[in-house]
C-alpha cells in the first residue's frame, strides 16, 4: 500500500495516496469538477485523462492551468478550483 499524503482542495484537507494523479485523488473523494470554463461558465473535470484535451486544468500551489490528469499529487499540495483562465482578469 502506497504512502498516504494530505492535500487541500479549495481549503479543505483530504487524504490521498502517493503516486496518484491529482485527478485520481479528487475523483476518489467524489469530486468530479474543479474548473469552470472562461466563456460559458460550465463545469469541467476529466475528459481524455491522458494529457491531450486540457479540459482538466486546475490551479496547484498558485500555478494555474496544470493538467490534473498528468500531475502527481504531493503531500501538502494546495489545489484550487480554477475559474476562467485562472489569472486575474
Amino acid at each position: 500500500m502506497s504512502r498516504e499524503v494530505v492535500f487541500r482542495f479549495d481549503g479543505a484537507p483530504y487524504p490521498g495516496r502517493d503516486g496518484q494523479t491529482i485527478a485520481a485523488a479528487l475523483i476518489d473523494h467524489g469530486i468530479l469538477s474543479w474548473r469552470r470554463t472562461r466563456v460559458d461558465d460550465q463545469p469541467r473535470g476529466i475528459l481524455c485523462g491522458i494529457g491531450v484535451c486540457f479540459d482538466c486544468l486546475i490551479t496547484v500551489n498558485g500555478e494555474p492551468n496544470v493538467r490534473a490528469c498528468m500531475t502527481g499529487v504531493e503531500d501538502g499540495d494546495d489545489l484550487r478550483s480554477q475559474e476562467g483562465t485562472g489569472y486575474a482578469q
Binding site: 472562461r38 492551468n65 485562472g86
Partner: protein
C-alpha cells in the same frame, strides 16, 4: 451531377471561390480529399495582412481582399471571429527600424495606412511590450480571422443557397478533357462530375492537381510551426511581429528562418510564429525550431517567459519560385483555373482570389489584372 464549376479544395481559398461563383449565379461542387479546412488552411494562423506586402500586384490583391473580407463578415454575421485588430511591426535595432520606415513609406504611396510609432509610444499601443525596442509601425488595416471557422461558414453559406454541393473525403483521381483539350469533367472517388470549369484550390498540393490535368505547376511546401499558449486574459492587442518577418517572407533561403509573430485570439490563447523551412512534406516536430520561436517572442513580450505553452501545430505554406500566387486560367488546358500557391497569405488573399476567379469565369472584367499571377509565367511545360 453537372455543375458549372468544380472547386478542388475545401480550405479558405476554395470556400471563397465557391461563394463568389454562387453569387455570380453559377452552380458549384466543392470536393476535398479530407475534411473542410483539413489541409493548408488548418495549419495556418488566419492572417489578413497588408503590412507584410511590398508594393506590387500582391499588395493590390491584399488591399482588395481585406475589403471583401469585411463585407463577407458583415453578411455572414460575424461567424468566424474577424477581428480588425491592426498590426504592429516592431524593430529591435535602429538599422532594422530604418529599413522598416523606408518600407512603410513605399507602402503608404500605394494606399496602405502605415503610422510610425516611436519607441517611447509603443506601450500606448501594447502595454506589455518590451521597453528595449527601437520603434515600430502601426498598420490599422491588418486583420485576423479564425481560418477553419471561416472556411466552414463560407462553404455553409454557399450550400444554403441550394447551388453548392460539398463532397468531403472525396479524393480527385483525374481531370478529363474533351477532344479539343478542354476540361470536361472531374473524376473522384465518388464518381465522375461533368463540368466545363475546374478551380484548383488545393493549396500546397496544387501541383498534384495540375499534374492530373497534364500540366506542371511549381508549388512547393514551406514548413511552419506555431506555438499555442494557455488561455490568458487579453495581453496582446494587435498582431505584433518583428520587422525581419517581412525579409523572411520574401527570402529565397532554403534553411531555417524564424521571426517573432505574436497575437492573441478570441479564445484567450496567444499564437506564436513564425518559422519557415523547405524540408518537403516532413511534419516531424523540431524542438530546436520551437525553442527559437519562444525565445524571439519573449524578446518582444518579456511576460511570455512566465506563460505555459499548451501545444504546437504545423503546416505547409504553398510557395512558388517568385513568391506570387497562381490565380487565373491555365492557357494549356481551357477550363482549368488555378487559385493556389499563396504561400502564407492564402487566407488573407482568399476573398479577392475567389472574387476575380468568378469574374473571369462569368466573362466580367477582373478587378485586378491577372497577368502577374498567370500560370503562363512559368513557361508552357506539360507533364510528360
Amino acid at each position: 451531377m453537372n455543375p458549372d464549376v468544380v472547386v478542388i479544395g475545401a480550405g479558405v481559398v476554395g470556400a471563397c471561390c465557391a461563394r463568389a461563383c454562387v453569387e455570380a449565379g453559377l452552380t458549384v461542387v466543392v470536393v476535398d480529399r479530407g475534411a473542410v479546412a483539413g489541409g493548408t488552411t488548418g495549419g495556418g494562423e488566419g492572417n489578413i495582412l497588408v503590412s507584410d506586402k511590398e508594393p506590387g500586384p500582391e499588395l493590390d490583391l491584399a488591399l482588395l481582399s481585406r475589403e471583401l473580407w469585411a463585407q463577407m463578415a458583415g453578411s455572414l454575421g460575424d461567424s468566424f471571429e474577424l477581428d480588425p485588430k491592426g498590426g504592429l511591426v516592431v524593430a529591435t535595432h535602429q538599422h532594422t527600424l530604418d529599413y522598416l520606415l523606408r518600407f512603410a513609406d513605399e507602402q503608404r504611396a500605394c494606399g496602405v495606412i502605415a503610422e510610425p510609432v516611436a519607441a517611447t509610444d509603443l506601450p500606448d499601443h501594447e502595454p506589455r511590450i518590451s521597453r528595449d525596442l527601437a520603434g515600430g509601425v502601426l498598420y490599422p488595416q491588418d486583420m485576423q480571422v479564425q481560418p477553419m471557422l471561416a472556411a466552414a461558414h463560407i462553404i455553409e453559406a454557399a450550400c444554403a443557397t441550394g447551388r453548392t454541393t460539398l463532397m468531403t473525403d472525396c479524393a480527385v483521381t483525374g481531370i478529363d478533357v474533351d477532344a479539343s483539350g478542354a476540361v470536361s469533367g472531374v473524376r473522384t472517388a465518388q464518381g465522375v462530375i461533368s463540368t466545363r470549369h475546374v478551380i484548383n484550390a488545393a493549396g500546397t498540393w496544387g501541383g498534384e492537381i495540375a499534374a492530373l490535368a497534364g500540366v506542371e505547376l511549381p508549388i512547393l511546401p514551406r514548413r511552419g510551426f506555431i506555438l499555442v499558449t494557455e488561455p490568458l486574459p487579453p495581453l496582446v492587442r494587435h498582431k505584433v511581429y518583428a520587422a525581419d518577418y517581412v525579409a523572411n517572407v520574401a527570402s529565397d533561403n532554403a534553411g531555417l528562418e524564424t521571426s517573432a509573430v505574436i497575437e492573441g485570439t478570441h479564445s484567450g490563447t496567444i499564437l506564436i510564429g513564425a518559422s519557415r523551412e523547405r524540408v518537403g512534406f516532413d511534419k516531424t516536430l523540431d524542438w530546436h525550431v520551437l525553442g527559437r520561436l519562444a525565445k524571439q517572442a519573449i524578446e518582444i513580450f518579456p511576460l511570455l517567459a512566465e506563460v505555459q505553452l499548451l501545444r504546437t501545430y504545423g503546416g505547409f505554406r504553398p510557395y512558388c519560385p517568385d513568391h506570387l500566387p497562381v490565380i487565373g486560367p491555365d492557357p494549356r488546358v481551357p477550363g482549368l483555373l488555378h487559385a493556389c500557391g499563396h504561400e502564407g497569405a492564402g487566407v488573407g488573399l482568399g476573398a479577392a482570389t475567389g472574387h476575380v476567379i468568378a469574374q473571369w469565369i462569368t466573362g466580367a472584367s477582373t478587378s485586378i489584372d491577372l497577368a502577374p499571377f498567370s500560370p503562363a509565367r512559368f513557361g508552357a511545360s506539360h507533364v510528360a
